[in-house]
Symmetry: C2
Subunit: 493 residues, 2 copies
Amino acid sequence: MGEYVVCCYTVRQQITSLITPTPFAGRINAESKARKPAQLKSATRFLKQPGLISLGGGLPLSDYFPFEELSIKVPTPGNFDRSTQETGQTLVAGKHDLTTGKSLFDISTAFNYGQGTGSAQLLRFLTEHTEIVHNPPYADWQCTMTIGSTSSLDVTLRMFRHPNMCMLVEEYTFSTAMEAARPMGIEGVGVAMDEEGLIPSDLDRILNTWNPAEHNNAPKPFLLYVVPSGQNPTGATQSLPRRKEVYAVAQKHDLVIIEDEPYYFLQMQPYTGQGAPDAPPPASHAEFLASLVPSLLSMDTDGRVIRLDSLSKVIAPGSRLGWITAPAQICERYYRHADVSTQGPCGISQLVVWKLLDEHWGHAGYLDWLVHIRLEYTRRRDVMLGACEEYLPREVLSWKPPMAGMFHWIEVNWRRHPKAREMDMLDLEERIWLKSIEMGALVIRGSWFVAEADGPQEKMFFRTTFAAAPFDKIREAIRRFGEAVREEFDLVA
Amino acid sequence: MGEYVVCCYTVRQQITSLITPTPFAGRINAESKARKPAQLKSATRFLKQPGLISLGGGLPLSDYFPFEELSIKVPTPGNFDRSTQETGQTLVAGKHDLTTGKSLFDISTAFNYGQGTGSAQLLRFLTEHTEIVHNPPYADWQCTMTIGSTSSLDVTLRMFRHPNMCMLVEEYTFSTAMEAARPMGIEGVGVAMDEEGLIPSDLDRILNTWNPAEHNNAPKPFLLYVVPSGQNPTGATQSLPRRKEVYAVAQKHDLVIIEDEPYYFLQMQPYTGQGAPDAPPPASHAEFLASLVPSLLSMDTDGRVIRLDSLSKVIAPGSRLGWITAPAQICERYYRHADVSTQGPCGISQLVVWKLLDEHWGHAGYLDWLVHIRLEYTRRRDVMLGACEEYLPREVLSWKPPMAGMFHWIEVNWRRHPKAREMDMLDLEERIWLKSIEMGALVIRGSWFVAEADGPQEKMFFRTTFAAAPFDKIREAIRRFGEAVREEFDLVA
């Protein structure tokens, strides 16, 4: 796992823009278009003048930051499976490491005001990483940093929202996304799903047959919000052919795609079944990267994808660090908004994460870490699937092994419930849910993720996660859930 | 400076709400009203059930955060004037300090997902601090954390924006505030200022004589955005009588006041003049607190003030930490928005700042630090004022000593310029500005801060800052600026 990762980031900088993406024409709203560069920043062009003394900006002096040194103890590549307390390394950031030549980033820089794009230091690493993993096939793509994907989506929706608007989403979707969109007046339109997630032919059908009169006069939608890998809540991962079909429908109907991928690097090893030998881990970075289903960004010849990435699931959610990748035009609208709202990500966090990712691990070490995470989640998933096979009644419950993410999605054949004729699905879902809680296992109700407020409720699901509980607790919780279902359905254990 | 600060935070929690503020009725918009608690969080009520195993939330396990320990070297109270490298102390946060009982906050908690309000740990400290300093005179005030005041203002404006709306602001105002407001369709209406900032009688006049026809049919404004201390750009600080008058006008016209106070603790020692002995520093915390002009929040009997505080100017901008203080109803609208956008402040930053402020310094140590900052800024201001008195031509330039903040505001009697009859004010301002840059001193043009896009431009100002440059550079830059003005006005040195 130690080969050198070739990066052609600097080469990319030299390519002149060959493609000017157009899917955004007429779609960016007046609010977003109205954002201009800050007037005060127009003075910065003079700062290069030799000998000039600036009494311009109101940046506080780093002498007044009550922090002299910051250090973090972190795991070292090759030792990710061993105790960091014993094998870790301590990285130290001083106040003036940049001036003294000790480092490219320091407290006096990172703890002061930054840019809406994030720091040049960390942005460069993340842009290189994006090129290594996705290599977007048009010239003027860019990355700009965010304070995490929840905010990325908020800012993106504020760029495209129009009165009386619908957005295409998976029929079961990340509930926070809809909780962000609805107050802005954006209603979700659910696209049917199967075990590979969103079904392209249904997307095409919805768009071909769009009748504003059936959607409160909303015009034909142009925004598609999609989580292609380890989707929350269904755990579904789109295959490569599926992604190509989704992209083709997006081209046909000129959609803007918001590709939200927090779980991209939680793509796991193939599921081999209980008792069978594990699939061997990737033998090289190249093999690891080749094992990942290519992103929509990687096939985005038109520049119609706004990809949201996040460090929450692979480094730590409390870092509040993410980035978007999109055409330069979109990134500019994005960081101009950041300049007057978030002001870009937290500098303390950027320094900590940059020390780890760029200065200590480098791209190779980070890929090693991502492989480590992959294998850890694979073990967790396999424990959950083993418990499901052992404890859940197949007569009424069914599932597919998730290939990515944190979630397992279990379908309930509720029509076999003794009260199926007298109770409606939602009441029955609640009843089974409460029974499981009563027996000591908290799972999540599938209906909470239905995209359309009054969407059809024909199927019943429960979501579980294998992300956090210890293995024995996962097994015990699944056992209890199985018992609750058996009791509800009058099944014999 | 070591007396114990009594804090009645816990007592406050027991007081039942006696006052229900009403200034927000009918003013919170549909977007903000539509925000509901997250559906997924409704499952958390079961988490207290003994023995329950949760497979609910998708929180990553802290085992997968590649950080074992974080430490910061910080100054200790009593040594703020000495080298932190020599006299500082190292504070260490471990991964599981909460479980092992070593601390009330740790990596596994702070680096995971948090709340829209910010962590209970740091929020408690900031709420106590707010009570010590402002002691708001109504029962149901609250604090909720933000990612800094730029975002606080963005979120607040999104709560109150209505189509075709005006907001009252100082006639020269923080340009970023208007750059945030304008794309939302909020136009600024400038209230006249003098050396004490906003003039209450002009505020009253504007509201008494409001005619929608003169303002593009905007209704009478209800939002007042004001920076009472060390205002940017004018450096003006409202006296206590001035604040009382502002509040009285706000009551008369039922305004909602956004009190933006990044510079509140940059209130400096009285200016005694060059060569005169300095005023003695505050002898106790009580004397220090008494020396601060009371905030609008401290006199807010009606609950009509939304106060924005920030750690950017007193700890570090890169912390991206601030908080608002407002009635509970407003705080709830605020953190529900945070839940679906910022997700609250960065956890890494919260842990670092909490270790410093709460665990290490405590309230007493933090007040010591604020006194230290006050004396440092006083020295900087005095250097700038000394240079102004020495180098600037009084014939055409005039100023008042700033009592707070980072900025010095210099008025130019431009009608004495040889070309005053043939050039308009803005062209002349640019000419003098470029002349100063040519001579090696960058200052900022006053016209950049005019609140109303087509506001009157009768007066000419330049803004300088004493926040950052070394003393000799401040003196030299002022000398160059004086020389540029002399050349422009054909004055003899």
